[in-house]
Symmetry: C2
Subunit: 321 residues, 2 copies
């Protein structure tokens, strides 16, 4: 669930009075999401999302995130648009937290992924990459290759609690990634967390992309690799090449991949699996079983990592080379 | 938090198609509430609340609850109105649970209670009692005097974990309530859980009453006693007689209290405190410290019980007799 900070009725009414969005009609905490406190705010002029930024977001990053949303929305990406107060500022404070109001996006995230969803995600991701390519701010990816080893060290001693031998296996895979990680791939703003619960669909088509709080400057193909992992595996762990083909094929209709990007996909997909494996592993080992947040199985990403380790080349993803 | 059951996008679209409320635009789980799963549903025709009934609600009671909402709404009480499907039925099924869609109510519940809120609650409660007086269905209060002893027995042995001597003290108070409980007071449908988070205000005035899932047939004055406890004590434990006077005074403008009701108020208020004390005590002793649901302090209600035990008569509540 995702309401960590209480918002008082009086505090909210005073807060909203600094905008030109009418009278507050209601404000309900949203149960989804794990990073920030999110509320569905209804006013006499419509629906909005109110977000209070909690500790896991660095306040210094907020101008990047909000500037990115403005930039993307102006380029036609269906993302939340920050609403500015009467003084022109979008980033404000409420209940002692940095807070913003953004536009509401219609749609629901898909629980059962179809190849059509993957096709739309491929196109949407490419359009996002193209739209962000002239965004002038940058933000370092702080969950990238150099960050994995320190993250791993925090779980290394206890990794075998999750699966016998996992610590040694991860050590070996990390060395492999550290020696074989591609450099100088085309880069720009990536979403870095484009999981199904961050993509809305309406009438069978992509209607919104949300949750840009991992967005950063990194290789575009790494973002594709994250999506391959998040969208193209079945619940039973098998890789669905049809979904991958639709995703990558539609991506390439909007933004062509270089040969270097194509060849790098297997190692990027392994790295993307490592990144989510390591954060899930840490959370798994450090979250009480009956805590507020549902723990996600790190081994799901171990199996994905192994899949990419066995593929012979980018053809395994249904790519026509 | 209050989303125990996941609703799939496909399941929801099929579910909503059985109503005449347009296309689903979004559906977000609401973090508030502890009994059922609640979602804020937006469709092309507006805002609604979708509720999935979880285990703590007896399905056999649902026709009473939904019938009551229809009856109250028709009498002008600002409560959620069940939306009927194309076949005329309001009570349906979704994700394996009994489910209803009700109208959305604007407003926010007050975090800091003022005498004005109490005045509005007094009037609203009386209007609710009058509106419900010709509702033909009945439902036994299953958290009333005869239920307190078995409930107490489930916590008796461990009560002293919360406060030294609490077990013996509660035993003594229970005997007192069992011998002195008033009979034959004016009765009808009561809300039985009219806490501040179940009352919405907009522009400083009561705009909605929600959460009728403890509603039952019992003494009206017992409902008043619950409200005295829920609305008229300050955070420091002191009783605010001004709030009580405004609440009771406004109640009596709509529905006059009989002498028997007035004289019974102190014991009813003790009983109302006992009822919430016992459920909180049980939850306190049986909920893990780091669980999903916030535990409420049972001793808050022990202190309220003791307050009512010391008063000399209904004049203590600011009543003009």
């Amino acid at each position: 669930m995702a309401v960590y900070t209480e918002v008082s009725d009086e505090g909210l009414i005073a807060f909203v009075a600094d905008y030109g969005i009418g009278e507050v009609l209601s404000c309900k905490g949203i149960a989804e999401g794990v990073e920030n406190s999110n509320f569905l705010l209804t006013t006499s002029s419509g629906l909005f999302i109110l977000t209070l930024y909690e500790k896991r977001v660095n306040p210094a990053d907020l101008p990047f995130f909000l500037g990115l949303l403005d930039h993307l929305a102006a380029s036609g990406v269906p993302c939340p648009v920050p609403v500015r107060g009467r003084d022109g500022q979008a980033l404000r404070r409420l209940s002692g937290r940095p807070a913003v109001i953004v536009s509401f996006l219609a749609g629901m995230w898909p629980r059962r992924i179809t190849p059509e969803h993957c096709a739309d995600v491929g196109r949407g991701l490419a359009e996002f990459h193209v739209a962000g390519s002239d965004f002038e701010m940058t933000r370092k990816n702080d969950l990238s290759l150099p960050d994995w080893r320190p993250l791993f060290e925090r779980s290394h001693d206890r990794a075998d609690e999750v699966m016998s031998g996992l610590g040694d296996k991860l050590e070996m895979e990390l060395v492999g990634l550290e020696t074989g990680w591609p450099e100088d791939l085309p880069s720009g703003v990536i979403h870095a967390d484009l999981f199904p619960d961050n993509v809305f669909f309406r009438g069978g088509h992509l209607s919104g992309i949300i949750d840009f709080y991992f967005a950063c400057t990194d290789a575009y193909a790494y973002d594709i690799a994250i999506c391959l992992n998040a969208w193209c595996f079945e619940v039973d762990g098998s890789f669905n090449i049809t979904k991958a083909r639709r995703m990558l094929g539609n991506y390439r209709k909007v933004r062509e991949l270089t040969d270097a990007e194509l060849m790098a996909l297997p190692v990027l997909a392994k790295g993307a699996a490592m990144r989510f494996l390591l954060t899930r592993l840490y959370d798994w080992l450090n979250t009480p079983v009956d805590a507020l947040v549902t723990r996600k199985d790190p081994l799901e990403y171990w199996r994905k990592l192994r899949f990419h380790g066995r593929v012979e080349g980018p053809g395994a993803y249904g790519l026509e080379l």
